[in-house]
Symmetry: C2
Subunit: 175 residues, 2 copies
DNA sequence: TCCTCCATGTAAACTGTTACATGATTTG
DNA sequence: CAAATCATGTAACAGTTTACATGGAGGA
């Protein structure tokens, strides 16, 4: 149910078309809340119908620029400040860990070192991306940096854990 | 698409009914792959139809016990060893971070310290749970311990990050 | 003219959540 | 006999993904 809030958040900075929003989802938000074009256009219509957005301008090629309404801002604020539940999240990667005993010890260790490498690659990709981004003083940059740091810490943690887990299995294997 | 693999994984240890599986989803797998009763019964039927499971026994109250077939084991093995993509994951919590500039600095800091507290509570809940579990030598325990350690590291990382981020915002606020 | 980018939408399939509905068996 | 537990299923709805479908505008 957060796609709508991602869209409200982007439109709270400036009015934009569905096409413009897609660029936001493909770049800054791609690691946090990916969305498809189908979803975005569908949700724009729903949000406009609900009065949280309105068409603020029309351009060539049927372009419709949407702006957030004051109801939309209220909803965004409500979402940002509502009490958060302690959410359990799904994880493919961890699910596999539960069933590692159905592999040979060697295969299991291969899986875990693979995980470590994936995390490491993601960490590197983030570091590289961080260097390429032109960080400014604008709000999206300030918040983007916080999210970035989260990504760095998360990938580092995952790599360390996977290496540790592989070693644990390796120990057991010897017995 | 991993519900089916969670079910195959559980049934690869021992045959079970839908009701039995639900206990697995509510306990060991609850933090990794929650599932509802509706899903489980529906998927059992599909898996049986696809030949990955078969009804191995029937009991009182219409109980049907399912066992994994060799096709099912092959599919489980394939899933465990297939190359993993570097998956982007959705995160409500991080999405909010991107839009923190639409709150007052004080509200934003409140959000982040709230995040820290949630992470801390989850960490404590895990530590407490770890003590209560009767860890054995069975495969689920061995792998469960690895997953547990992941949870502990993850919640610790999240708390540290949120405290750091709150401080960052606090610095900016002073300027 | 051709290619790329801009731009919007619809339809089908799948996954997941919540609520509803039913009834047998065991235990206190 | 009442309550808890065992046990299975269906229906409606919400969110996501993939594929399809169309066409205008601008630049080389």
């Amino acid at each position: 149910m957060s796609l709508r809030h991602a869209m409200l958040g982007l439109l709270a900075n400036e009015p934009a078309s569905g096409y413009d929003l897609m660029k936001g989802f493909e770049t800054s938000l791609s690691n946090v809340w990916p969305a498809t074009q189908s979803q975005v256009y569908g949700e724009l219509a729903k949000l406009a119908k609900a009065g949280l957005l309105e068409v603020s301008a029309e351009g060539p090629r049927g372009r419709k620029e949407y702006a957030i309404t004051s109801d939309g801002r209220m909803e965004l604020h409500r979402w940002l400040t509502e009490p958060q539940p302690d959410t359990p999240r799904r994880s493919d990667a961890l699910l596999r860990v539960f069933f590692l005993n159905h592999l040979t010890p060697l295969e299991a260790i291969t899986y875990l070192t693979g995980e470590a490498e994936r995390a490491s690659r993601q960490h590197e990709a983030l570091t590289e991306l961080e260097g390429r981004i032109d960080w400014g003083d604008d709000p999206l940059s300030v918040n983007g940096r916080l999210a970035f740091e989260y990504g760095l810490r998360f990938t580092a943690m995952r790599e360390e854990w996977a290496r540790w887990a592989a070693e644990e299995l390796d120990k057991t294997r010897g017995e």
